[in-house]
Symmetry: C2
Subunit: 342 residues, 2 copies
């Protein structure tokens, strides 16, 4: 005789989903603001368009954490990938001049471990809070024969706003403009498929092993949180000191800087102006990765590039204190010349 | 001697990613509108807040397709899951009175098969177009040791807008209000972990086998596109004829209708008012699933429920033509009584 089937028996536990949802309520409540009009349980999150703007333009971006998640799985450290995700998304709209309004996450798991879900969403909430951004909602999906036990994927969506006249679209960028670099905090969320191959196969490390040249484990080095540049850059944007900005993600400096330069302009980047952090040097050496390939896959220590008019460069560097440096300049032509990289 | 490593060798092909991105450009261009200010390649998508509203409120929702994707993988039919996703998200904000402005997708794959990516994103674009919603951007992630060959996850995010005074928040719902049902188009995107267990294990069908009681294959029945209720319901919302709406997703009628009823009110649903479609009867019979469980896991033929004042019911039903029916009423108490279901 055939046993009668249930949803729970097939692997989906609606009660556990309800409990997980309730346990997330305080996280969501803590990350609203005066424009957040909806509570938990609504089909959609409600957010009032901020007043006082002449022509508000919404700026939206979707992203994932990529296989950096695999390092979280292997080390059981699930608390910071949510911050990576929020910060990545926030940077992607910041480069167009927008500040974030709200964020939603998509978390898909095999087994909906409540501790893991709450650690991951807790990280998302912390990321939102640090960027003064409401966590307006999200979806936690149970997909038992899709994701392995203890595994999940995490994606997120941010919506920000910018006054139309202040959109950074690169249209004021001219040849001779200066490039100012802001340092990354490690790999951020790019290049992890290659980085993991080098660290766990070529170097033969486990997540708990000390990372060469650092007083930190491999997991700690690889999981360093993707930096948000909002707080650093916002005062400069308010002053109108920045003509364009590029977030250095997949594709590296070469892949991202041209995205914000007008047709007919390229960039000269002087790679002697900084020394990539230890993690990049170790990955390059242990993997025998060609220098050009390293600069295409990883940020190499440059997380964000500001394009500023020559007469602004001094003031921008002074405002950044030790946090930024003169990286190069905008030139006629196309693409990026990485000077000093074979 | 150690071979020197490359990103492509580790499984991530940046050139293929660039080609996939370019091949998607016409899809995105075709699904913009006059408020879409950004083109492909921007870090974030730009969308002007529509003018002419007193207090515009944004309504946002994130969702995935769940394990309905497994049916797409098994059958190689990738063209409609994007529509499922968009329609699901659109319905989730429609129930709060919002019409969609724009959508972003997150597609994570193992091997970035260009044909599959373009079929999936093509479906997303078609869904956006059918809902008069801009496809503002998205992320296509290559995660080679995360997703198997030919497998992917797909999530999406919609932002809509509603005039603040017209938000459907259930506050005008009273005991005695009527429930009007709108039919679903099959399973929509819920209950697939159980449905697949029944169809492929208990019934022993393959995706290409005829589905019992239908002139369609198992894949065709299971992949029927999640219906968007925007076009049907929008004229009723503009007239102010609807007090609340519930989208019947995971958790069924019982799990979703109470989400839009004020404290102290419940609902009486008369299950003799309709006959669930063949697919629900076959799943229940073959799986030996208890009737209560069926109504908790599946929509059972009711995709959307409108709550209307008693004096509006006749006009609403007349406006819907044969598309809706009188389902029950709002009562004092809590929860949902499913009359006629043991």
């Amino acid at each position: 005789m055939n046993e009668s089937l249930t949803y729970k028996g097939a692997g989906v536990d609606l009660d556990a989903a309800e409990r997980a949802k309730r346990s997330l309520a305080p996280l969501l409540d803590a990350v609203g603001d005066e424009n957040t009009l909806s509570g938990l349980g609504a089909f959609g999150g409600l957010y009032a368009v901020p007043g006082g703007m002449a022509e508000p333009v919404l700026v939206a971006s979707a992203d994932g954490v990529g296989t950096k998640l695999k390092v979280a799985f292997a080390s059981g450290r699930h608390g910071t990938v949510g911050q990576d995700l929020v910060n990545h998304c926030v940077n992607d709209i910041l480069v167009q001049g927008a500040r974030p309004l709200f964020f939603l996450d998509y978390l898909a798991t095999g087994d909906l471990d409540e501790g893991v879900v709450s650690a991951v969403v807790g990280g998302v909430a912390r990321g939102c809070s640090e960027n003064s951004c409401a966590l307006l909602g999200g979806e936690t999906a149970q997909m038992p024969d899709f994701y392995g036990a203890g595994e999940y994927d995490l994606a997120g969506f941010v919506v920000g706003v910018v006054e139309r006249s202040r959109i950074l679209d690169g249209s004021t960028v001219r040849a001779g403009d200066r490039l100012v670099a802001l340092p990354s905090s490690g790999l951020h969320t790019n290049g992890f498929t290659l980085a993991r191959t080098i660290v766990f196969e070529r170097m033969g490390l486990t997540v708990g092993d000390p990372f060469p040249g650092e007083s930190a484990t491999a997991a700690e080095v690889l999981l360093r949180v993707h930096r948000s540049y909002l707080e650093t850059v916002w005062p400069l944007l308010e002053e109108g000191a920045v003509s364009a900005m590029a977030h250095v993600t997949g594709g590296g400096i070469e892949g991202n800087l041209p995205r914000v330069l007008p047709e007919g302009l390229g960039a000269r980047v002087d790679c002697a102006t900084w020394t990539p952090e230890n993690v990049f040097r170790q990955l390059g050496d242990a993997g025998g990765v060609a220098a050009r390939e390293m600069y295409r896959v990883f940020n190499m220590g440059v997380g964000m590039i500001l394009v500023v008019a020559p007469e602004r460069e001094g003031a921008v560097l002074a405002a950044l204190g030790g946090d930024g440096w003169a990286l190069g300049e905008v030139v006629r032509g196309a693409g990026v010349q990485l000077e000093g990289v074979e």
